[in-house]
Subunit: 353 residues, 2 copies
């Protein structure tokens, strides 16, 4: 298996380093051989190559079976013109590889649930998977430009029916592996694109008679995530709505620093990254929490390599480390032991081997 590592910016290289060490332990235990190739993306790529997404990086990713990405961005590049912003690297690689499905599982860790802004009885038991369309909609539609006189501006929310079909299909398939309930989110009372979306969901439904489906308007979904998060199983939505709702959902369980994500396509190739950002303020201090990155490698093993047991071993190890009371600075574990990136990684590895 060929794996491309894209450390990116800020704490990216630290958490990628941890993830790599955990993978080494897993491959040794299970006798796999993974080959790693490290490439630049984001701000560090701008600094070294003058572009957030060097052609070299794209080529390497095109040949990879999976990609692990740390994080991109930082204040250093915040004032750059838009083609020289770190995020363009991330958007570019998603699009170049056709990674159309962004999977964001959100499940509370019992040890961290007390850090949730929600009341215990509201959040307890929540376990949802948000599936966001990632290569269409407002993010990539054209025109996306200012008029010549600067007096008006336009962005375009464009979708092909086939783009909707494949992501909605993915949601139904994912629901089958879970509690068999899909919440489709749109704004069908206003947007034409949402009306087509809803039609496609209704059509697809027939192929999955064992899965129940609910339609929710995006504004109602934003409310229900807070008032009744346990009532969701799989939520599927288009790119912009998914960006907002998945970030909203990420703070519900009090463990933002623990959340992995996958951006995949149908042949199994995927890019895996933590939900948290590059945290430039704590970069290089050895205190970054690598657990979301490590859990992202578990998603890689499961989704891209079909290595279920290996993935489970990593997830159990992370769970065990929390149960043992180890935590990094961002996590507030009562009566636990505060450790740095190196030490918590070592703890995970001990449970993996």
């Amino acid at each position: 298996k060929q794996i491309v590592l894209l450390p990116g910016d800020g704490i990216g290289s630290e958490v990628i380093h941890s993830a790599r060490q955990v993978l080494d332990a897993v491959t040794e235990r299970f006798n796999h051989t993974f080959t790693y190739h490290t490439h630049d993306i984001g701000g560090s790529a701008i600094d070294k190559h003058g572009t957030p997404l060097p052609q070299d990086t794209v080529s390497a990713c095109e040949q990879a079976d999976a990609i692990l990405l740390g994080a991109v961005g930082g204040p250093k590049w915040d004032q750059n013109p838009s083609h020289l912003r770190p995020e363009k690297g991330l958007l570019g690689i998603r699009k170049a590889l056709g990674l159309f499905a962004n999977l964001r599982p959100i499940k509370g860790f019992p040890q961290l649930l007390h850090a949730s802004p929600l009341k215990h009885e509201v959040v307890e038991g929540s376990d949802l998977l948000i599936i966001r369309e990632l290569t269409g909609g407002l993010y990539f539609g054209t025109p996306s430009e200012r008029s010549h006189d600067g007096k008006s501006v336009v962005d375009t929310l464009a979708y092909d029916r086939s783009e909707m079909e494949r992501i909605i299909d993915n949601a139904f398939k994912s629901a089958r592996l879970r509690r068999k309930h899909v919440t489709s989110v749109d704004k069908a009372n206003v947007l034409e694109s949402s009306k087509l979306w809803r039609e496609v969901v209704e059509e697809k439904k027939a192929e999955y008679p064992d899965v129940t489906v609910e339609h929710l308007l995006v504004d109602a979904a934003a409310m229900k995530l807070i008032t009744a998060p346990t009532q969701f199983d799989v939520m599927v939505t288009e790119n912009m709505f998914g960006d907002i709702l998945s970030d909203e959902a990420s703070v519900l369980t009090g463990s933002l620093g623990m959340l992995p994500s996958a951006s995949i396509r149908d042949d199994g190739v995927g890019l895996y990254e933590p939900v948290h950002g590059s945290a430039p303020d704590i970069a290089g201090q050895g205190i970054a929490n690598p657990l979301a990155m490590i859990l992202s490698t578990a998603m890689m093993l499961r989704h891209s390599f079909h290595m279920k047991e290996e993935a489970q071993v990593i997830e159990d190890a992370v769970q065990q480390v929390l149960e043992d009371g180890y935590h990094t600075k961002d996590l507030d574990v009562k009566g636990g032991q505060l450790v740095g990136t190196v030490e918590i990684t070592k703890q995970v590895i001990e449970h993996v081997t």
Copy 2:
């Protein structure tokens, strides 16, 4: 003053009736003369006139100083083709009258805060005003249509600079009357429209040196509303983001049934409506909570008629009724007295006269 009443659907006519009674008490006490004109909108207008927004209604609203709207929508019309949906009436009247600024104040009532899904220490003290652009963006941009072969679809997010200027200006002015802090929400790392938006905010800032400004990406805003709602004063954003974020914010304080809203333009004309919906399930039972509608009339008195004292009298009365322990079925007041629409309205009126 000419006031158009648009009861709409579901509990709309019940809460409008309550609001009218409260206004009668206020006009009597302060010696004003308001003239009322009732017109159809939404589902009931579809049933009677075959359109959710009869020309007659538009004409009446065009001549009004202010409009009070109950609520529109219901399952009866959910399967209708899009031009025959109740919401089109609401969207149509906003656009026809140029009501470009939607103001949604969100402030917890101490008596109701225990019903919040958020922990007490997270939500306590939150008091924000969300200002949403209401007549531009994805809601009204063209093209908004499906291709002839049905294989693709497009919606358009279009803004003129002048549309941005007036809503952002409104936000700065509003902030001056409050805690002098503006949070501008956009997606400037992806959307061209957001880049222009951010530029306009930066320009306007110079005119209001006493107001502090923060830019927040929409995904980050969706998170921060939950983790740190007290850190907002005025939030301003475009139409679609505002729809999502204002509904998200509306559930934070546990008093969705208490929230008023105003949709205004620069000359003071405005449409006032509760944030909650038409609640068809409880319509006609005499148990609807009219307080959000009543508080919307207070917003009308303040914004459209500059009757500050009168507005305050209503707001104090509602506060007093809650303190006295009266509540409708949707509100959970510990040790309080459960009453219906008529009785709680009577209680408000007692404190108004």
